[in-house]
Amino acid sequence: MSRTTSRRISARPPALVLALALVGLSLVVLPLVGLVTQTPWRDLGSLLTSPPVMDALRLSLVASGAAALLSLLFGVPLAWMLARVDFRGKALVRGLVILPMVVPPVVGGAALLFAFGRRGIIGEPLYDATGFLFPFSMWGVILATTYIAMPFMVLTVEGGLRNLDQRYESAATTLGAKRWTVFRRITLPLIGPSLIAGLVLAWARALGEFGATITFAGNLQGRTQTMPLAVFLALEQDRGAAVAMSLLLVVVSLVVLVALRHRWWPVR
């Protein structure tokens, strides 16, 4: 769509750049190698098909998928507001939206408890009125992972909106299109690559979420125990199972990240 067509020339890197890049690469690759060397290949099949692992995997996929879609639903409008509307306190709002990326997830989880827990400012009236509880349920996992993942969507889409040539939208408006029509028919298709990038990043972050989830939603097999929680507890009980699950998480994430690479950042 908005691909640049300038020809890319493969460059020969200066020796220092190459050396530092290799150190950087080894920093992310060596832990993976370590993981692979610890993998109990012979028992891999039985370890990964055990009921606790299947439960955790199913829950992880459902929760991270839901978190990505909720991030899309609420994050894109937020990104649009931040990119297009001038209002007082915008810097503060942007800071607040990005905060879950930098605050320790455990702190985020505790804060979620104080807001949406049974005694929380929203959670208590909600519980009194309906008996509905976020903590210790799958809804709690989805809420916690969305809280952590949504900033990735907002940042990515806001960047996409800022790089967008606004003349298309102006033209549509001039031709009489309503604001909602312009947003739906012009803006959204034009930022398609950013939407996909945001979805993938939010999903990947949600898949790996640990701290906010265990603090807010607790840990129970089949209900709130996602893959990262299962890995964390298995590390102390059954290292082989923990490593097998970690490997599965890594493979799933890597496949998605690599498969979508062309959609991710506009490829030059």
């Binding site: 150190v23 505790a110 408890l113 104080f114 827990g117 049974r118 005694r119 509880l133 903590p135 210790f136 265990i214 603090t215 607790g218 840990n219 129970l220 097999q221 209900r223 709130t224 125990q225 964390f232 507890l233 590390l235 102390e236 009980q237």
Partner: protein, 233 residues
């Protein structure tokens, strides 16, 4: 890169005693550490976590000088693996307790609450000392627990009780004594278990780590431990 490696290996004690202690020892050990520093002029660094997590860290070569575990199961692999400098000694004994948020909002009356469908029940995860001990107590009482969460360590369970997010949990008696926001519901002595806390000087801990373990068994430390609700051997 070379600089990074030097920092990585250089974490052996440059005068500090590094103590790995079970999460349930947090309050008592913080106080004992301060007293030890006062008495000896040595610096203590404390790392509190679930005993099983600490065990794994030590087995992976974490530079700790002292390991105080909340049960013997987590000390055994440390001894068997040759990671200790001195044999473990029991320095404190704890018991389990039924804990509820202050005011007992769910009107919990006893151990049967752990099997009640309508209550929000919290336990430590199986394999964590407080989880293992709690399940033994419940088995003794003939109650099949229906937990809503299996917390990774006793502290996170206590916190969820304190903020009232769960109705009942099984923690250490010392946890109940040290928190104003939770209270104890009577638990039949016949069902309860004694939880022993062994401590050992780890290989490479040296004389400073030995000094801490010795201090731990001395008068000042025993006074602190007793005040926090531990029974002393």
């Amino acid at each position: 890169m070379a600089g990074l490696l030097v920092v990585g290996c250089g974490s052996s004690p440059d005068g500090d005693v590094v103590v790995f202690a079970a999460a349930s020892l947090t309050d008592a050990f913080t106080e004992i550490g301060a007293r030890f520093e006062e008495a000896t002029g040595m610096e203590v660094e404390m790392s509190f976590a679930g005993s099983s997590a600490l065990r794994e860290q030590i087995l992976e070569g974490a530079p700790a000088g002292v390991f105080a575990s909340a049960n013997t199961e987590n000390m055994v692999p440390i001894v068997d693996g040759g990671f200790t400098q001195t044999a473990p000694v029991v320095f404190a004994v704890n018991a389990m307790a039924i804990a509820v948020p202050a005011g007992n909002p769910a009107s919990v009356t006893g151990v049967d609450a752990f099997g009640a469908e309508r209550l929000l029940v919290g336990l430590c995860a199986p394999g964590v000392p407080c989880g293992t001990a709690a399940r033994t107590v419940l088995a003794n009482a003939g109650v099949t627990p229906l937990p809503d969460t299996n917390e990774p360590n006793v502290r996170s369970l206590v916190t969820k009780l304190e903020v009232g997010e769960i109705d009942v949990g099984m923690v250490y008696r010392t946890d109940v004594q040290n928190s104003e926001e939770i209270e104890e519901v009577a638990l039949d002595v016949d069902f309860n278990v004694a939880v022993v806390f062994p401590v050992a000087v780890l290989a490479g801990g040296g004389s400073r780590a030995e000094a801490f373990v010795e201090f731990l068994q001395g008068e000042a430390a025993r006074e602190v431990l007793a005040r926090h609700g531990f029974v002393l051997p």
